[in-house]
Symmetry: C2
Subunit: 222 residues, 2 copies
């Protein structure tokens, strides 16, 4: 294209459009919460480990989710993690969410996956004072994600399952790419990262992130 | 400014300039190496711990640097880390480089710092089979950085102590900002990140990063 043929008003229109898009994308701060290692238990496994249903301890940030009073020990081929939190209510399938640091400690090759995507993941042994469960699969490193209420998503022009980039407003500045957005009416706006990601950006309580414009052309499917 | 007054050739000149700058910044891949926790000892502390000079085990990627045969135990107020590597040759001051995960294990509030910037950092106890050293200060979480040979830096238009952004070509894509470049004639091109940062991006051996255009307006001084 011969640059002399560019019309100045067309340039202005394009620039104005890009600026508006960046403005729209640079939305308000998203609270960032650190996900410590935790377990979602099936009702059957809860019963095997505790002989009863899970007991409510305190509510979590997402409506309906809660921390349980019960704790479990994770036993891997190389190491053990004690006092691991259980989140309720119980689910259809048991899922163990750890960090890559934990995976090294336990000696399991846990892949980075979105919640619920369990085929081909390694197993582990869960132990309580009352019982043992030998899990065949279900150990993952949860991919970072944002819980986004539907009205907020609509306002921002963001769709369920969209991948976005988030700049972390922390001491070790970085931009996380391929962040999965999950949209639902009853979600409370929050981004979940694990301890490795939190340490990498120097996360501290009450820190937030900002969705920024642009996304990689090719993205991973976790 | 009235957009109608923009001259198309000026727009072209600006666009061409920006594209050239981006091209220059998007240099060749930078090998990324994971820095595990390690210690640089002063000759005096080496002598207190081992009764002799440090012993060469194998060379490291930076010319003149080597892993020592000796190992130490780090004793913090909350926990202990065993079998910690010592890098030689000895330095003027003893410096302990750990991750934020390690800092939590040991119970020390180690700040993120550039190598050598030790005032106000916490101390720790170093132990060997033969001796103990009570360190008053010197424990840091080393800020990520790039070792860059002078000729490569000149080629890329990058100066010593410049901060750059690096996209990590790993499974969990992210962009590290405020990455310090250190330039010297005898450096071998390599980026050093710690285990938290490595886990956050899903680092694996032989992974690399790319310097990309742009930098934050306000940057941290570590």
């Amino acid at each position: 294209m011969n640059p002399q043929t560019i019309d100045a008003s067309l340039v202005h229109t394009i620039v104005a459009g890009v600026v508006a898009m960046i403005d729209r994308m640079n939305g308000r701060a998203i609270p960032v919460e650190l996900s410590a290692r935790h377990i979602h238990l099936s009702a059957e496994h809860a019963n095997q480990l505790f002989g009863s249903d899970l007991t409510f301890d305190r509510p979590l940030s997402q409506p309906g989710q809660f921390l349980c009073k019960e704790r479990v020990r994770l036993i891997g081929p190389k190491g053990i993690l004690d006092n691991v939190a259980i989140l309720g209510p119980s689910r259809n399938r048991t899922q163990v969410e750890i960090s890559l640091t934990d995976a090294r400690t336990l000696g399991v090759r846990a892949p980075i996956r979105n919640s619920g995507n369990l085929p081909g993941t390694p197993g582990i042994i869960l132990a309580s004072h009352q019982g043992l469960v030998g899990l065949d699969e279900g150990v993952i490193v949860a991919a970072r994600h944002i819980h986004m209420p539907s009205d907020y998503a609509q306002q921002q022009g963001i769709k369920d399952r969209q991948l976005v980039r988030v700049r972390m407003d922390c001491e070790r500045p970085l931009i996380l790419e391929d962040v999965l957005v999950r949209v639902a009416d009853d979600f409370r706006l929050a981004m979940h990262i694990d301890f490795d990601e939190g340490n990498a950006c120097g996360w501290e309580p009450d820190k937030s992130g900002h969705i920024i414009a642009g996304q990689r052309e090719q993205s991973h499917g976790y």
